[in-house]
């Protein structure tokens, strides 16, 4: 039973939680439109910071890098993670339990430590630093999330659905296309979203693995803040948030289309 929060206390509580979550973001978004660099009120509306941002090649380039790394991570981690989830579901093999258990510790290990380890390992093995190293690192970070999310979806799959499709005359390819994939789609998309978010959000590991001149947005923002804060940062952050929200809305609609009950 889900009850609506009807009494006053519950409403206040809900308001506080929402304020806690969204107020900083709203303030930041508002300030990206304020001509005063020192947050003077009332707001004097302007697009100046966005115009400035359009000329800030470092921020733009790092945004492009971030998107590139995140997309690559998403594609690689989703494909590998989904394949692994299917293997976990469908086959019995030696050390399966061990492998499954081994998925969780990386999530719990602080990123700072994982990042240090990766830096050392990549240096030692000659992989080096740069975008390719970041992609490798991000894929490793995102894989457990993808596997856990996709596996949760697969677990609910009734193998009789595939058997039924085959008995109705579907060849293996048709079974995958019409039955298996549509069922897995929501899990797959959720997993991909996780992978994207893990990579796009990633600071520590990107910071360790970036080379001068080639970094991602979070690293660049950090560097910029260290040098001295400008509302351009507010502007790019606001754009990123708008992008994320749009993505989430699209995905949530697709989620329903994907056949989830």
């Amino acid at each position: 039973m889900k009850a609506r929060p009807t009494n006053m206390l519950a409403r206040i509580y809900l308001g506080l939680v929402l304020a806690f979550l969204y107020l900083p973001i709203l303030v930041m978004a508002a300030m990206s439109f304020n001509s005063s660099q020192f947050y003077m009120l009332p707001i004097d509306w302007t697009f100046d910071w966005y115009v400035k941002l359009a000329h800030n090649t470092r921020l733009l380039e790092s945004t492009r890098n971030s998107l590139l790394v995140a997309l690559a991570t998403t594609v690689i981690a989703s494909v590998l993670g989904t394949a692994a989830s299917i293997a976990f579901f469908r086959y019995d093999f030696r050390f399966k339990k061990v492998l499954q258990a081994a998925l969780f510790p990386p999530i719990a290990i602080p990123w700072l430590i994982t990042g240090t380890a990766m830096l050392l390992f990549f240096f030692w093995s000659g992989i080096g630093r740069g975008l390719h190293a970041m992609i490798l690192g991000h894929v490793a970070l995102a894989l457990p999330y993808v596997i856990i999310v996709v596996s949760a979806r697969i677990k609910g799959f009734d193998p009789d659905l595939e058997a039924a499709a085959r008995s109705l005359g579907a060849n293996p390819w048709q079974v995958i296309r019409h039955v298996t994939l549509p069922y897995l789609a929501p899990g797959f998309i959720a997993g991909a979203l996780f992978a994207f978010a893990v990579s796009f959000d990633q600071f520590v590991i990107s910071y360790f693995l970036s080379v001068p001149g080639v970094s991602t947005l979070p690293v660049e923002i950090y560097t910029a803040i260290k040098k001295g804060f400008t509302p351009e940062i507010n502007a790019i952050s606001t754009l990123v948030i708008a992008f994320s929200i749009t993505l989430l809305v699209i995905v949530s609609r697709f989620y329903r289309f994907g056949g989830d009950r």
Partner: protein
């Protein structure tokens, strides 16, 4: 349409033998019920026929052709799963259309045939619903429509009515039988419900421990069970054990019973008698020539509205007699009564 022949099929899972030299002939256009206790291999047998799994040895023919190298999707078999296995992301229409869609049937024909099939199961107008928006009985009918719409040669039904309540179940039984007759598909039907098996099918097979114990028309199976197990699994039966003596069954207390035919062989033998074939003789009624007679102590009378069950005991044998609830002489528990039944209803069975 096609007949299905299962010939000397064996199937083991590790050490466990799930099917043990099973041979059955499913006639073209027939309605065949498979009956047996849980774990007796019914589903396993269906899965071999459908092609989801393959026999260790033996052969399966569909329409006279060996199907060993024919994958499931080429066997042209409609299988209705116990849990219906409807595709959750598809509408009722798309579920039913699936078998036609994968065969690249032209769109207008798909529309016409799905419409027909939904009408057959009385679900016209439900095209756009998703499976989770249907009741159990409706889902089941969708599963049935989906299994028959592409005109398979054989229909396999694995306990298709087991999840329904009594009323829905009876309705669906009639529907199932009507559809099967209209379409004329060879149908193999697994059930736990002996009454369902007896009323629906032209032929019944009883499986136990992976072996086919007996098969035949329902009436024959009921009237002439070959084994004590078949007699008690399919209906109720009183079992008498004794020694063969001069063609008759001699019980340990000396009572002699005659069977349908003089018993052959020597040593131990068992006879089964259906409880509704026995009657309690009236006081002073003379014994009839072609009847067996047995004295027993009445222990309990169970009242069930239109019928009565008498529970009786004779030494260490417990007996059960069914009777119509007619006004007859008042009987009291503890009373000694005489049971009579026709010699022709005393069936020798394998223990």
């Amino acid at each position: 349409m096609a007949s299905v022949t299962v010939s000397h099929v064996n199937k083991s899972f590790g050490e466990f033998q799930a099917l043990d030299d099973v041979s059955i002939e499913f006639a073209d256009g027939g309605f065949y019920a498979l009956l047996g206790p849980s774990g007796s291999g019914k589903t396993t047998l269906l899965r071999q026929i459908a092609g989801f799994s393959f026999p260790d040895s033996g052969e399966i023919l569909i329409g006279g052709e060996a199907v060993e190298s024919l994958p499931v999707e080429k066997r042209n078999i409609g299988m209705m799963f116990q849990n219906y296995a409807l595709f959750p992301n598809m509408s009722v229409f798309d579920n039913v259309a699936f078998g036609l869609m994968v065969r690249s049937t032209p769109k207008p024909e798909i529309k016409a045939r799905v419409g027909e099939a939904l009408e057959l199961v009385r679900l016209s107008g439900y095209d756009e619903r998703k499976p989770h928006q249907l009741s159990g009985g409706q889902r089941q009918r969708v599963a049935l429509a989906r299994a028959i719409v592409f005109r398979p040669r054989v229909l396999l039904l694995d306990e298709p009515l087991s999840a329904l309540d009594k009323a829905l179940r009876l309705g669906m039984q009639v529907e199932l039988k009507r559809i099967q007759r209209e379409v004329g598909i060879t149908t193999i039907f697994v059930t736990h419900d002996q009454e369902e098996a007896l009323t629906l099918s032209d032929k019944v097979g009883v499986l136990k421990d992976g072996k086919l114990l007996q098969e035949g028309p329902p009436r024959e199976l009921y009237e002439r069970p070959a084994t004590a197990f078949a007699a008690t699994f399919l209906g109720d039966a009183n079992l008498f054990e004794g020694d063969v003596d001069d063609g008759e069954l001699a019980l340990s207390d000396g009572t002699r019973l005659r069977a349908t035919a003089p018993l052959t062989g020597v040593g131990k033998a068992t006879c089964a008698v259906r409880p509704e074939k026995m009657a309690i003789a009236e006081e002073g009624e003379p014994p009839l020539a072609d009847h067996n007679l047995l004295e027993a102590e009445l222990q309990e009378i169970i009242f069930a509205g239109n019928s009565l069950s008498y529970l009786l005991r004779r030494n260490d044998i417990h007996l059960r007699v069914f009777a119509q609830n007619r006004a007859t002489a008042e009987l009291q528990p503890g009373q000694r009564v005489r049971l009579t039944w026709r010699v022709a209803d005393t069936i020798p069975v394998e223990a």
